[in-house]
């Protein structure tokens, strides 16, 4: 279902794919600038910007001081006045310092001004756990942003989508928040060369199935696909939907799948309570697909605790392949 599957594609890592998207954008549009902490000679905390500074120089690949609120606000102001900034938060957790500019300014200024302006800013948020960096460097906060009208929020799960969604975000006149999972940065996959976009607002069916629909985001897509293969061995055919965009939701893709399978499991890394799975579940439960449901809607989300440091605890705090298998098994058990 890969929109560019027919184009000759090389394998790139997720981080390289993002870098390539930025490279394409910087090369083709003078208005594009990158901003963030240590994105210059350091290459970014996760080496996503890499050596772009060598090509585009410090005026377009701008190291910001450690000033998240101000930095994000500068990006918003620049976007309002003709530039196309891509602002990198070094860790998504530091967005807690910049919610004012993101939520009160970027998300609302167009509406508050009756449509007189647009804010074409892109913000990138390295998110998620698994790196042993503990509670202040491992959060998955995308649900906060998905609660805010005026923002668009995406969570690419593959190198292909990471590049395509970033290029789509850059073409989008509205603020787009991109949540990238840190553990995906090294993941490799086919990525077309040059310019292409992946539409914001469209989910992707990664695996077709008839017994249960599993809606997953970001890194969980891969865990779910792994679980789905194991489940297939037991005769359970799961349909796996990669949500890709968490605001706005692709209702139709999810609902059509649920109408087909009559069972829904949502899998996401963020804290379970009020994570994106809450919205998916509620959206389905209030739709006409409700009548097709043969079982309660199950959510697998992060544990109700901060992310712990100890590596085993850290794993225990977010859904793992075995948890998914177990949950799906329980879900389809009563299906006869």
């Amino acid at each position: 279902m890969n929109v560019a599957a027919d184009i000759e594609a090389r394998e790139l890592s997720y981080a390289e794919a993002i870098r390539e998207a930025m490279d394409v954008a910087l090369a083709s549009d003078e208005r594009v600038i990158l901003m963030g902490e240590d994105i210059g000679v350091y290459g970014g905390a996760f080496q996503v910007t890499g050596d772009l500074i060598d090509t585009y120089g410090p005026d377009r690949v701008i190291d910001t001081p450690i000033s998240e609120l101000g930095g994000a606000g500068v990006a918003v102001g620049a976007a309002l006045t003709g530039l196309r900034p891509i602002f990198e938060f070094q860790f998504s957790d530091f967005a807690t310092l910049a919610m004012e500019q993101i939520v009160n300014q970027a998300a609302k200024v167009r509406y508050m001004l009756g449509g007189a302006v647009s804010v074409p800013v892109v913000m990138r948020f390295p998110a998620g756990s698994g790196t042993g960096a503990a509670a202040q460097h491992s959060q998955s906060l995308e649900a906060w942003f998905a609660h805010v009208p005026g923002l668009k929020v995406v969570q690419p799960s593959t190198p292909h989508d990471a590049k395509g969604l970033l290029l789509a975000a850059l073409e989008d006149p509205d603020p787009v928040m991109i949540f990238e999972h840190k553990l995906l940065y090294k993941m490799r996959g086919a990525v077309p060369e040059g310019h292409y976009t992946v539409p914001i607002g469209k989910a992707e069916i990664r695996r077709e199935g008839v017994d249960v629909s599993i809606v997953a985001t970001s890194i969980m897509v891969h865990k779910v696909l792994e679980a789905a293969e194991m489940l297939a061995g037991e005769g359970i055919e799961a349909e796996v939907i990669d949500l890709r965009t968490v605001r706005p939701l692709d209702r139709e893709t999810v609902l059509a799948s649920v109408r087909k399978t009559s069972r829904l499991v949502c899998v996401y890394e963020a804290v379970k309570t009020l994570g994106i799975g809450a919205e998916i579940s509620a959206m389905v439960a209030e739709s006409d697909a409700f009548d097709y449901l043969d079982a309660p809607i199950v959510r697998l989300g992060g544990a109700e605790c901060p992310i712990p440091y100890n590596p085993e605890l850290e794993k225990a705090a977010v859904p793992q392949v075995e948890d998914i298998i177990e949950a799906v098994r329980a879900q389809v058990k009563g299906r006869l």
């Binding site: 309002l80 006045t81 009756g114 449509g115 302006v117 005026g150 509205d174």
Partner: protein, 336 residues
């Protein structure tokens, strides 16, 4: 009798044509009358919500903007009517916004705290204290990168100077030598908190040192003094010499907003400052130097008054937004 020997000619008199000076006086009257009209409209129940009047602060708004062209930008505050008018806004559309009408600057979506006039370079008032500071730096970054030659004046209050955004914005503007002027209207209080109690330094301008930035404190009720400091800062900005911090010491005659019981300042203090009204001082200066003759001031005032009456009438007659449009203009490009 003012000293009119060449040495003592006020800056404004030597810097501006008589026509511009009369225009400045007209704007000062227009601001005063606008605020009085707003107050009156509020009493008559035409205005929903709250409002922050700038009566007494007319010289700083007009003095800071006289040196700007329409390509130059400003960012404004919750107490922003004066800034809007000084940057050339139409009072009819301002009242229309105040009255929540579709013809208002924000089509009735923003109200007093969000009036903007992007075509004239006014990027908007802001409901968040300090919210405009990083945005102004972003506008200046755009100007520098896109080489528009534009200067941005960032209005903010003494209260805002204790926000983290102030620090981050001034630091970034300084390290990047951006064409931005931080214009602090120090009216002695942030709501009820006097600068003595809120701010560790006696003069906000003292904080320029922390950013190795040019800093000046001027009599904010003296149009000439404000324009002199502003022109110097504009010249520095246009010459690529970076940002400036100007403190215009002034006073708001009215309460902070409509709900203020004025328990934190004395009648005497208010009376003292009212005796220092910037408008008669401007009239005096202009007549001392032959810019206006007998009766001119009264005529200009009457014209301003008429403009306000007309503006209010326009606003009253204007249509309200359609309820079905409540979610219009959240996005420039509603998603797929």
């Amino acid at each position: 009798m003012a000293d009119t020997s060449p040495d003592n000619i006020p800056f404004a008199i030597s810097a501006y044509t008589p026509e511009r000076l009369r225009g400045a006086l007209r704007q000062m009257y227009l601001i005063r009358k606008f605020e009085e009209g707003a107050e009156d409209s509020y009493t008559r129940g035409l205005i929903h919500g709250t409002m922050h009047l700038s009566i007494g602060q007319e010289a700083s708004a007009v003095g800071a903007c006289i040196g700007l062209s329409e390509t130059d930008k400003i960012t404004s505050t919750h107490r922003g009517h004066g800034h809007s008018i000084a940057k050339g806004a139409d009072v009819g559309r301002m009242f229309a916004e105040f009255f929540g009408k579709e013809t208002g600057y924000c089509k009735g979506r923003g109200g007093s705290m969000h009036i903007a006039d992007v075509g004239k370079g006014n990027l908007g008032a802001n409901g968040i204290v300090g919210g405009g500071l990083p945005i102004a730096v972003g506008a200046a970054l755009s100007a520098k990168r896109l080489e528009t030659g534009a200067v941005t004046v960032c209005f903010f209050g003494d209260g805002a100077n204790n926000e983290g955004a102030f620090h981050e914005a001034l630091n970034m503007a300084a390290i990047w030598k951006l064409p931005v002027i931080f214009l602090c209207e120090n009216n002695k209080y942030g709501m009820s908190m006097s600068t003595d109690r809120s701010t560790a330094v006696a003069s906000i301008a003292d904080r320029a040192v922390a950013y190795a930035m040019a800093g000046a404190s001027v009599d904010g009720n003296d149009f000439s003094a404000v324009s002199e400091a502003s022109e110097a800062a504009i010249a520095r900005a246009r010459a690529g010499e970076g940002p400036s911090l100007i403190e215009a010491v002034t006073y708001r005659w009215r309460g902070h907003s409509k709900s203020d019981r004025n328990r934190y300042r004395s009648k005497e203090e208010i009376a003292e400052w009212m005796a220092c009204d910037p408008i008669p001082r401007m009239v005096q200066m202009l007549s001392d130097h032959g810019i206006i003759g007998a009766g001119d001031a009264a005529r200009i005032e009457a014209e301003a008054e008429a403009e306000i009456v007309q503006g209010i009438a326009f606003a009253k007659e204007s249509p309200a937004p359609a309820l079905s449009d409540v979610t219009r203009d959240v996005y420039t490009k509603p998603a797929a």
